[in-house]
């Protein structure tokens, strides 16, 4: 809960745990149900509930395991397997000159590709929107989806581009200097979402969340 003094500084909650491991799995389950509903609404009357047209594309690092989890839960709830992929956006970033080169992560698409399908980009935190813009640029080079939607575990606000998420696990009002840290078992060993106070200057906070 926000203490009175911090609330007065702009409504950001105090640092601490935002989601526990149990919360993360509940949120993922809810998002999986929402994805099933939305796919069915987009393809009324189809045998597979529209899920054959769905491709979950994770943005590394943590969007990739998140996409795989969502796909596993969708299959568990609906019985229909869903295609999963990853798109590394490093080579599409507009801030490479500022932040330096980094090692690349895999880009893997399902064999059926993404042409004419419903692509849902999956990322852990939505902040400035620049990662999503880079991912949209990457998708444009990879094919022509029928439509592209966005699913994020945490939306922390402070958008710098006209981008919004279609599926949100948790909305968290934050201040720019805070950091949202998502831990997933596949990458970090445990499931947890933390809000921490950023390093002075705010630079680290931006790096931590993008």
């Amino acid at each position: 809960m926000a203490s009175p003094s911090e609330a007065a500084q702009g409504g950001a909650p105090a640092s601490g745990a935002l989601l526990s491991a149990a919360d993360v799995s509940r949120v993922v389950d809810r998002m999986a149900h929402q994805l099933i509903e939305r796919a069915a609404a987009a393809n009324p009357g189809s045998d597979d509930g529209g899920l054959a047209a769905l491709v979950l594309v994770g943005i590394p690092t943590r969007g990739a395991p998140l996409a795989r989890r969502l796909a596993a839960r969708i299959e568990a709830f609906s019985g229909v397997p869903v295609d999963v992929g990853t798109v590394d956006i490093t080579l599409y970033r507009d801030d490479l000159r500022l932040r330096g080169v980094r090692a690349l992560e895999p880009t893997l698409l399902p064999d059926a590709g993404i042409d004419g399908r419903l692509v849902v980009l999956v990322d852990d935190v939505l902040f400035s929107g620049r990662s999503v813009r880079a991912a949209l640029d990457a998708l444009r080079d990879l094919g022509r989806p029928r439509s592209v939607q966005l699913a994020v575990l945490v939306d922390r606000g402070h958008r710098e581009l006209p981008i919004r998420a279609d599926f949100v696990g948790k909305n968290v009002p934050t201040s720019r200097t805070q950091q949202v840290k998502v831990h997933l078992a596949e990458v970090d060993g445990d499931d947890e979402v933390l809000l921490t106070e950023g390093a002075p200057g705010g630079r680290a906070a931006e790096e931590g969340a993008q």
Partner: protein
């Protein structure tokens, strides 16, 4: 990574592995795509400054830069102000004044000095008989792709080691990456200083072939054969050329490499070059990916100087 790539020794094991991993990711990302182009180096300019002849290296660097959306200027000494007597330094400063961010240079002597004169990155694309680091990187990448590893791989480098920049860079880089290298050549084509190299030396190709995973054949460089290094081309071919009977002595999964251009029938027989063991075509394809990785890692991050 350092700012320049001048010799294989500029890369420690972590850097070299980063280049190979980056090339592998770029390969995977571009595989099967219609648009084989990435926006990463948009607005950067790469100059190919070639004072010696080259087909594959120049085209490979040009393709690599273009696939990363950099602008590419090709400069060859023939037909330029060099024939009016302009020095390498003045040429380089002129190119930089026009806004180049990186210079890919093939010159018999001077990539190191060039690196002191300019503010951008310098990539050595072959300096006489000294070094050719991107060739070594693409060879290491090809070995890793075919055999799945580099640590402990035994590589025979066969032929004109004395004049070969490919051999020098490969010896250094493969050693950095944990492979074991044997150089095989007539005594006249082994450099005097080979004692300080991290390699085994052999004069007998037939005794080496059964125990290696990779045979890298070097081109007999007719343009550098200005002294009597061997009695005749036929004699050389008989003792150090890789033909079908010799290839049969190799282990089952061993591969045959050649940096090109080949002299078919001289150091390598046509049926060997075209066999399933041969990686010669893959090496050319991998060259583009590896050079994309090098340009990305050198140019992608730093602010323009």
């Amino acid at each position: 990574m350092k700012r320049h790539l001048l010799e294989a020794a500029d890369l420690d094991r972590a850097d070299a592995t980063l280049v190979l991993d980056t090339a592998a990711q770029i390969d995977a990302a571009l595989a099967g795509r219609e648009v084989k182009k990435l926006p990463t180096l948009r607005g950067r300019t790469v100059v190919n400054l070639f004072y010696e002849d080259s087909t594959r290296t120049r085209i490979s660097f040009e393709l690599a830069a273009k696939r990363l959306s950099a602008d590419v200027i090709n400069f060859s000494a023939k037909g330029s102000s060099v024939s009016k007597g302009e020095s390498l330094k003045d040429t380089a400063l002129t190119l930089e004044a026009m806004g180049s961010d990186a210079i890919v240079v093939r010159h018999s002597a001077s990539p190191h000095r060039l690196a002191h004169w300019v503010r951008g990155s310098v990539v050595n694309a072959g300096d006489g008989t000294h070094e050719h680091p991107t060739q070594a990187l693409l060879d290491a990448y090809t070995i890793r792709q075919r055999l799945g590893r580099l640590e402990g791989v035994r590589v025979a480098i066969v032929g004109d080691v004395l004049h070969s920049r490919v051999a020098r860079s490969n010896v250094r880089l493969l050693h950095t990456l944990g492979a074991e290298v044997i150089v095989v050549a007539p005594p006249t084509l082994i450099p005097v200083g080979v004692g300080s190299w991290p390699v085994e030396v052999s004069y007998d190709l037939d005794s080496v072939l059964p125990k290696v995973d990779v045979v890298m054949m070097l081109r007999v460089q007719a343009e550098r054969m200005n002294a009597s290094f061997f009695p005749s081309a036929r004699e050389y071919s008989r003792r150090y050329g890789l033909d079908a009977p010799r290839m049969a002595a190799l282990a089952d999964d061993a591969i045959v490499m050649h940096p090109g251009p080949m002299n078919r029938g001289m150091e390598i027989a046509a049926e060997v070059a075209d066999s399933v063991r041969s990686t010669i075509v893959e090496q050319v394809a991998n060259g583009v990916s590896v050079r994309m990785a090098v340009l990305y890692l050198l140019l992608g991050g730093n602010e323009p100087a």
